[in-house]
Amino acid sequence: MRITAEDLEFVRPGRRKVLDGLTWTVEPGVTGLLGPNGSGKTTFLSLVVTLLPVRKGRLLLGDHDLSTAVGRSGARRMLGFVPQRFTLAGELTVTDTVAYAAWVHGLARRECGRAAERALDLVALSDLADLRTRVLSGGQRQRVGIAAALAHDPRVLVLDEPTAGLDPGQRLRVREVVARLGQDRTVLVSTHLIEDVAHLCTTVGVLAGGRIEFHGTFPELEALVEDTSGESAYGSGFERAYDRLIERIGERA
């Protein structure tokens, strides 16, 4: 299922234009959304997951027009979203949490147990199914969050900084999970971590000044980065070059 934005605008009440004529198509597979702070990434994700109303321009999730109540209602059943920061109810087990999330997303209650099992299998958490969520590590909690967003088998999965705050091992496992999910659905990942994009994303969009200023594959983005020298103890040369690129795109916008 495709996400299509056409000339999308969004103005925060009493503030500047956050999105300014954004036009972009997100195809099935894993797509990374990059951009400097304040570029409108969170606003765009909020519009996609119907938290904010579409007032100007068009935003489609498949055939569902998110500017209408009917469209939003239909789209919500196709959506899974893992916010950057979320909490779990510590007294519930992993299975009960994911099953409840499946029900909240619209599944019938009798289907929720099986759906939870399937989702936990996808994120490789089946062996922790009976644990209460209060005992989980950060990476395990993140994977429970992904399983909760997946349990109803959404066609579109939106992840906001899915690996933020995780140690390298946990980050690796989350990437494996997300890459697997992208094989048969549309996954939109907002991130600051270039490594996530490099290892996960089939396509990349760079949002700056309220518009998509770059859209292409990761190798195409890499090609734009001319000078990857300057490696230091604090980061790779590519990371520095990427930062300069994002700044340059921002200035151009």
Partner: protein, 437 residues
């Protein structure tokens, strides 16, 4: 059951809530209700009118617990940060609060009804009167509405702070009935305990039921609105909230009558020239009343001073009849749930026969002490006679007053006949009592 379903820990009876979150308040409500009604199980004269009102009256504290539990559930399970409480999720707006409140209300209200069951069974075996279905429906709807109000507090506060807020709010709302009568139309219970021979005024029950239904709708819509994203003003929602406000104000502008008298058929007996009549629902009390009143009247001994009829207040057609004290020839006797005829019948009969102690001018002080004023000593005679008369219901003896300890009943009757005028105006000194001279 498939293996995957078996792994779900939450029982369908509680799902999606952890059982403890529901069982703890339900258990507390059950205990509170049983504690509040247990001592009434052996009460005399229980009737359906009383029980119907008790459905609301006993709910006063349990509904506070239920509201607190609902607030806790909402505070724990609708926080925006929870992965399964995102406002865009398809069931977040309606199904989630509906499921939570159905589980909480069902368990709390169920526990409350189970707690009321023993009193209901005992009342049913007596079979006096008939249940007031509208009053019961109003009380139960009120229980549900106030529990939902607790849930709304939880949704609004999204944290544990909601619990004291909900408890305080609902406790305040259930207490307003004791502030002024107009709140009765908006409360679970009347500010007094009605019983056989009364019923709620025609408009009161339906108004209360309507108010709580409207409150339920307004609270449900407000809850859904708070959980919705993006939020938009809804004219229907605004109208429901406005309607609740109007129904709150209306009884204060035009206060309702609270109860009306509903006398039933009388069951009567006659003894010693006095007719004894009780409400048909109090027929079991008639023997005790006659058996306790007749010896008092016999001991008094002046036939023309006795009432023509002793009549159950449940037979009164208006408050003037029932509460204005002794009439010329009818003694109105209050027979109510929990009354004790062995205490109240002799006292009431004796009160009717002896003069008002206020006439003694002693400021209701009666004393035989050495320094007592003459008025106080005369008042002691009146009190002594009252106690002696009451004790005759049980054959006299030790329960009488010291002044009458050595008195022979015939002697007392003769003295009453002789000094009746002076006794009525409280002019008899203790030294004048024939058996003390």
């Amino acid at each position: 059951m498939s293996p995957s379903t078996a792994r779900l820990r939450a029982s369908p009876l509680f799902w999606p809530l952890p059982p403890a979150l529901v069982l703890a308040p339900a258990g507390l409500i059950l205990a509170m209700t049983l504690a509040g009604t247990w001592d009434r199980l052996d009460w005399r004269a229980l009737d359906w009118v009383y029980l119907s009102a008790q459905v609301g009256a006993q709910a006063r504290l349990p509904v506070v617990v239920a509201a607190g539990a609902a607030a806790l559930v909402a505070g724990r399970f609708t926080r925006r940060s929870l992965v399964f409480a995102q406002p865009w999720q398809p069931r977040a707006e309606r199904d989630v609060p509906l499921r939570h409140t159905v589980v909480v209300v069902a368990w709390c209200l169920g526990a409350y009804l189970v707690g009321l069951l023993p009193l209901t069974v005992v009342t049913a075996t007596r079979g006096a009167g008939s249940p007031d279905a509208v009053a019961v429906a109003g009380a139960l709807t009120g229980f549900a509405a106030l529990t939902l109000l607790g849930y709304l507090c939880g949704v609004a506060a999204r944290g544990l702070l909601a619990v004291p807020v909900a408890v305080g709010t609902v406790f305040l709302l259930t207490s307003l009935v004791f502030v002024s009568d107009p709140w009765t139309a908006l409360s679970l219970q009347p500010p007094f305990e009605p019983f056989l021979g009364m019923r709620e005024a025609a408009a009161l029950g339906p108004y209360r039921l309507g108010f709580f239904l409207l409150l339920t709708v307004a609270v449900a819509w407000t809850t859904a609105w708070l959980l919705r994203a993006p939020r938009r003003f809804s004219a229907v929602h605004g109208a429901a909230v406005a309607a609740v406000a109007v129904t709150v104000v209306l009884p204060h502008l035009h206060p309702f009558p609270l109860v009306v008298r509903a006398p039933g058929a009388a069951v009567c007996d006659e003894h010693g020239g006095v007719r004894y009549c009780v409400h048909e629902g109090h027929a079991e009390e008639l023997t005790a009343i006659t058996g306790l009143a007749a010896p008092v009247f016999d001991a008094y001994g002046v036939a023309d001073a006795l009432p023509r009829e002793v009549r159950d207040q449940s037979l009164a057609r208006g408050d003037e009849q029932a509460f204005d004290g002794p009439g010329q020839d009818v003694l109105w006797l209050p027979v109510y749930p929990g009354w004790d005829p062995y205490e109240e019948v002799p006292e009431t009969m004796a009160d009717w026969l002896i003069p008002d102690v206020g006439r003694c001018g002693s400021g209701s002080v009666a004393s035989l002490d050495r320094g007592a004023r003459p008025q106080e000593r005369r008042a002691a005679v009146v009190y002594g006679l009252r106690a002696w008369l009451a004790s005759q219901a049980f054959g006299g003896g030790a329960s009488g007053h010291a002044l009458f300890a050595d008195a022979d009943p015939d002697q007392v009757s003769a003295w009453i006949r002789q000094d009746r005028e002076r006794l009525a105006s409280c002019e008899v000194d203790p030294e004048e009592l024939p058996w003390r001279t």
